[in-house]
Each structure stands twice: as structure tokens, then as C-alpha cells.
């Protein structure tokens, strides 16, 4: 049974549809990531699931129950906010205990559960502190403990890592993911960062302008994008697109290599004459910018492993033979949708 099921959820604000008909199923225990650019409606959608907003139309089912008109506390969800939303005037212990106190859980039971949650996240020694005395990472753990102490059906996270600086982000990502695997709570995680999405999600729902463009595992999203938006949103640098009469031909930078580097394999290659304009050396890879013959208006990128590239195969200002394996080519029609080879 699905933990969270939405049917054609729509939300309009003043005639603008922030969420434009999203039907999504999140099975029990899954880590589902809602990925999309700012303003695409993913946070609104999450807040609808949580109960902080009411959808304009559509149904929402949590654990099999229709919860359309129920406030958050009746839905069995817990949420972790972008700035954690810890109660500044309560100690850590009372922060974690709060969701249980509102449900009038007996005191002995509360003590036990708080201790369990604190131990789960390794914050026992912080219980008597106040939020302002904690570091960013500690606050995150307290927020998680508070969210989990009720053992919710679904855990909702709204861009929890966006306030952290880059270094902390990686370790925080690690913590959350490991943690979720251990505890097994169904999790819905909103982010605009595709690296986070790819690294953490069991499945990713790519959202744009209030609609789901594609739902799939990271591999499916990356290798078999359903449309041009998904293809260019995921992946850094984004997929190269050559336009030909409205339709597009796409290939990822790491597949765009000097001809003599490509292993033909079976299926053949598509060849391009490529003029290098600029290259960036990033240590672990080299990004090369240039134009393909016949498509002067578009900047095409190639991502090359630096160790194996001969200097004279990428000299700027000159035309070099580059190629892409046919199996790595992706075709998109006039509407942007993915098609098979025309």
C-alpha cells in the first residue's frame, strides 16, 4: 500500500496554477525526491501533502485515508523546514517532546520516546541546551529527532540543506540518507539541487511549472530523460542540444569525445567537426567549450578526462573531429518530448 498517494492535485493562487495536476505515488519506505527549479511548485506541493495549504482540487491519501480536509496533526506526517523551525524558547528536550505533548501522550511514555529519538540521532548530550547554543549540524539533528519522535507515516523535508555551506552539505546529505535507510520512514524530499537529488533519491520526480515531467530512478532520469526539460535540468554541464527544424538532438558532454578516443563498440558513432573556443581545467576533468560545424549559434560542451587527452586534439581555434556513440544520442521532437530515432 502506498504511504502517500496524490490524485491530480491542483493549487491555484489568483488564477495562476502553482501546482497543475500532479498524480504521484510514494510507496512505503521510499525516499522520493521532488526536484525542480525555484518556483516550479514543488514546495507548494509538499505543503499540500503536509496540510499547511489546501489543494484547490484533487485528492490526497495518506496511508489509505483521504485527508483532504484534515489539519496536519491528523495526517500522520512530520516536516522538517528549511531553517529547521526549532522552538527558540524551549530546550532541545522540550522541542523533541512537543509533538508528543500535543497528542497528550502520558509523561512516562514521552520520556522514553525522547530518549529513543535522541539516542537515534546521537544528541543525548544536547538535551538541556537551547537551539541558539547549537551548531547548524546539531540543529538539523534536533529537527530530525523532533520529526521522527512521533514515528510518522511520512517524513517531509523542505530543502533542508540549502542554508548550509557547501562543505557541510555533503556530510549532512550523507547523514540524512543513511539515517532514512536505517529507520525506513517514507520520505519526501524537496530540492532544486540535482546533485542532492541524484545522490539521495530512490526515485526522483522532476517538476516544472506545476507538472511532473518524469518520475523514475536516478539512472532512468539521467539516461532516459522523458523530455528536453529533464534532459537539460539534470547533469552538469547540461546535455548538449542541437536543434534541427524544431526537433532536437541531444548528447551529454561526457559522451562527446575526440573521435579517436571513442570505442566504436557496436552501433557506430555520429561524427561532428568541433572547433574548440575555450577549456576549463577543473582537476578531475576538463570542460571544453566550442561550436559544432553547421550549428554556429550553439555553444557545445565536452567533458573530458584530462589524463587521457592529447593536447593537440583540443587546441583552441582549430577544428577537431569529435564523435558520439549512437547509443548515447537522444532525440526530441518539436514539443520537446523524447522520441526514438527519426
Amino acid at each position: 500500500m502506498a504511504a502517500v498517494l496524490t490524485r491530480n492535485i491542483t493549487k491555484t493562487f489568483n488564477d495562476v496554477a502553482a501546482v497543475n495536476g500532479i498524480t504521484l505515488t510514494v510507496p512505503d519506505g521510499e525516499f522520493m525526491v521532488l526536484l525542480g527549479p525555484s518556483g516550479c511548485g514543488k514546495t507548494t506541493f509538499l505543503r499540500i501533502i503536509c496540510g499547511l495549504e489546501r489543494q484547490t482540487s484533487g485528492d490526497l491519501l495518506i496511508d489509505g485515508n483521504v485527508v483532504n480536509d484534515m489539519p496536519p496533526r491528523a495526517r500522520g506526517v512530520a516536516m522538517m523546514f528549511q531553517s529547521y523551525g526549532l522552538y527558540p524558547h524551549y530546550t532541545v528536550r522540550n522541542n523533541i517532546a512537543f509533538p508528543l505533548r500535543t497528542q497528550r501522550v502520558p509523561r512516562a511514555e514521552i520520556e522514553k520516546k525522547v530518549a529513543w529519538a535522541a539516542q537515534l540521532l546521537g544528541i543525548e548530550r544536547l538535551l538541556e541546551r537551547r537551539p541558539r547554543q547549537l551548531s547548524g549540524g546539531e540543529r538539523q539533528r534536533v529537527a530530525l529527532a523532533r520529526a521522527l519522535v512521533r514515528e510518522p507515516t511520512a517524513l517531509l523535508l523542505d530543502e533542508p540543506l540549502s542554508n548550509l555551506d557547501a562543505k557541510l552539505r555533503a556530510s549532512a546529505r550523507q547523514e540524512i540518507k543513511l539515517f532514512q535507510q536505517r529507520v525506513g520512514t517514507t520520505t519526501i524530499y524537496v530540492t532544486h539541487d540535482q546533485v542532492e537529488a541524484m545522490g539521495m533519491g530512490d526515485r526522483i520526480a522532476v517538476i516544472d511549472h506545476g507538472k511532473v515531467r518524469q518520475v523514475g530512478t536516478p539512472a532512468e532520469i539521467y539516461d532516459e530523460p522523458a523530455d528536453r526539460f529533464v534532459a537539460t535540468f539534470v547533469g552538469t554541464p547540461p546535455m548538449n542540444l542541437l536543434s534541427r527544424g524544431g526537433a532536437h538532438l541531444g548528447f551529454r558532454p561526457e559522451n562527446f569525445l575526440p573521435k579517436d578516443m571513442i570505442d566504436d563498440g557496436n552501433g557506430g558513432v555520429a561524427e561532428f567537426s568541433f572547433r574548440v573556443d575555450r577549456s576549463e581545467y577543473l582537476g578531475s576533468e576538463r570542460i571544453v567549450y566550442g561550436v559544432v560545424e553547421g550549428f554556429d549559434a550553439q555553444v557545445i560542451t565536452a567533458k573530458l578526462p584530462p589524463a587521457h587527452v592529447a593536447e593537440d586534439s583540443i587546441r583552441p581555434g582549430e577544428w577537431h573531429p569529435f564523435a558520439v556513440r549512437n547509443g548515447a544520442l537522444r532525440y526530441f521532437d518539436q514539443d520537446g518530448k523524447r522520441t526514438s530515432r527519426h
Binding site: L52, Q82, G85, F98
Partner: protein, 281 residues
């Protein structure tokens, strides 16, 4: 050398200007103070230098004030009026300010401006019908008429002030409480109120000072000495026939002014952040 002269001139004129303002604002209060401490013969002698004592300073005006007039009673009246008005005001303005701060739609904006405008309706227009209403309620000449009427301006003012503060509070904490199981109202009581104690305190102080500063309604509704609040009493009651008891009047004015002056000084910064938060969007 020229630079040094120009600089000194600038400094001198700067401090001169500051001194000018200080004298302009403080002199009447100095005058209040010294008048209240001068003995009557000293006071009512045109040949004496007025700026300092010519005869020994005396506390007789203060004694007279407390022993021979209703001054103590006026202080008590003002205290009671102030406290009651504060309670009524908070009961109405706290929820109203919160609700308006969180209401983002057109109605919220319109109501907010409506409240702001109510504060501007002049007492010198409303005092006529209000005096009739007060009379029909049997409250004429009673300080309770003021307890009834003062919230008409303290509630709009505090709602506006509190609205500014609440708007600046991040919604996340309330939302977290809601997700954690609080009702909407529960979130207000358990999260917003404890965290806005400074704002509430500011509102209390300003409400109190507003009631102390009020004059028009007090003058209109109350005529008997015993029911007068402090400001009305000092300004109108210390006269026998044509004779003004200046020493006592100044003493009374001084005592009545001090708490308000202190309160304003302590809370000015809070007040400013409140009004700029609400006024300049």
C-alpha cells in the same frame, strides 16, 4: 591652519546647535522643577532673578499637593484607568494584530489600513456623541467612562504596533508547531505569544502612556475632583477662583511627567522598529 580654524568653527557651531535644542526642549522642564521648589514669596516677586533660588528651596508645594488636594487620588485614578485599559486593549489587540499580520489577502490589507485610519478619527469629533452615550450609560462624571472610551484609540494603535512586530516573526515556528500537533490557535498561544514578550511589553507601556497623555475625553466627561485622572487634575483643578497655585501645579506636572518620560526613553527604540515595520513595507 585654515583647515584647523574651519574645523573648530564647525565643531563649535555643531555643539552650539545641539545646545540650542537642549535648552529649547529642556527649559520648560527646568522651569517646572525650579518653580515647584521655590517658596511663594520667591516665586511671586518680579524683581527676583527667576533662574535660581533667591530664598531657600522648599518642599511645601509637594506637601500641599499631597495633603491638601486630591492629587494622591488622581494618581490612583490614573493607575486604575491605565491598568484596566491595558487589559482591555491587550485582549482585543493581540489577537487582532496577529490575525492581520498573517492575513495576506486584500481583506487583510484593507483591514490593516482601516485600523490605521480609525486611530486618526479625532476625539474632538467623537466627544459629543460619546458624552451622550456615556450619560445614557450612567457613567457621566465617572472615571469608568474613560476606561470605556480610551480603548477606542489604544486598540487601533496597539493593533497596528503589534501587527508590525508579528509580521516580522518568521512563520516557520508556527508552522512547525502546527505540524507537530498544535491547533492554529494553540500555535498562537504557545509559540507566538511567549516569543513576542518584548513587543507586548512595548504595547503595554505605550498604552499606559497614551492613557496618561489623554486630555480631551477626560475634560469632557469628568467634572468632579475626585474622579479626575492625573493630567486633568493637575491642569485644571489646582485653581481657586482666579488664583493659580503655580507651585503646586508645577510640582504636580513634574510628578505626572516623570514616569511617562522614563517609559518613552526606555522603549523608544522598540516603538520605532514597530512603526517602521508596520508603516514602511
Amino acid at each position: 591652519m585654515k583647515r584647523a580654524i574651519a574645523n573648530t568653527l564647525r565643531e563649535v557651531s555643531f555643539y552650539g546647535a545641539v545646545a540650542f535644542f537642549v535648552v529649547l526642549t529642556a527649559f520648560p522642564f527646568y522651569w517646572m522643577l525650579i518653580t515647584s521648589l521655590k517658596s511663594n514669596p520667591d516665586l511671586y516677586n518680579v524683581t527676583n532673578i527667576p533662574f535660581w533660588f533667591n530664598e531657600a528651596p522648599t518642599l511645601e508645594h509637594f506637601e500641599y499637593l499631597f495633603e491638601q488636594t486630591q492629587f494622591a487620588r488622581w494618581l490612583l485614578n490614573s493607575l486604575i484607568i491605565g491598568l484596566c485599559v491595558v487589559v482591555i486593549t491587550l485582549l482585543a489587540a493581540l489577537p487582532a494584530g496577529y490575525s492581520l499580520a498573517r492575513m495576506t489577502g486584500r481583506t487583510g490589507e484593507a483591514l490593516g489600513i482601516g485600523i490605521f485610519l480609525t486611530y486618526l478619527v479625532p476625539p474632538t469629533l467623537l466627544f459629543l456623541p460619546l458624552s451622550r452615550i456615556v450619560a445614557s450609560l450612567g457613567l457621566q462624571n465617572s472615571m469608568w467612562s474613560l476606561v470605556l472610551v480610551y480603548p477606542t484609540f489604544t486598540i487601533p494603535f496597539c493593533t497596528w504596533l503589534l501587527m508590525g512586530f508579528f509580521k516580522a516573526m518568521p512563520v516557520e515556528i508556527e508552522e512547525a508547531a502546527i505540524v507537530d500537533g498544535c491547533s492554529l490557535f494553540g500555535a498562537f498561544v504557545r509559540m507566538v505569544l511567549p516569543l513576542s514578550l518584548p513587543a507586548i511589553l512595548t504595547a503595554v507601556i505605550f498604552t499606559f502612556t497614551l492613557t496618561l497623555q489623554e486630555f480631551v475625553y477626560a475634560l469632557t466627561f469628568i467634572s468632579s475632583s475626585a474622579q479626575k485622572p492625573i493630567t486633568l487634575g493637575v491642569a485644571t483643578d489646582l485653581v481657586r477662583g482666579d488664583i493659580f497655585f503655580w507651585g503646586e501645579i508645577m510640582a504636580g506636572a513634574l510628578i505626572a511627567s516623570i514616569p511617562v518620560a522614563i517609559a518613552y526613553n526606555l522603549f523608544l527604540d522598540r516603538f520605532i522598529s514597530g512603526i517602521t515595520g508596520g508603516a514602511v513595507k
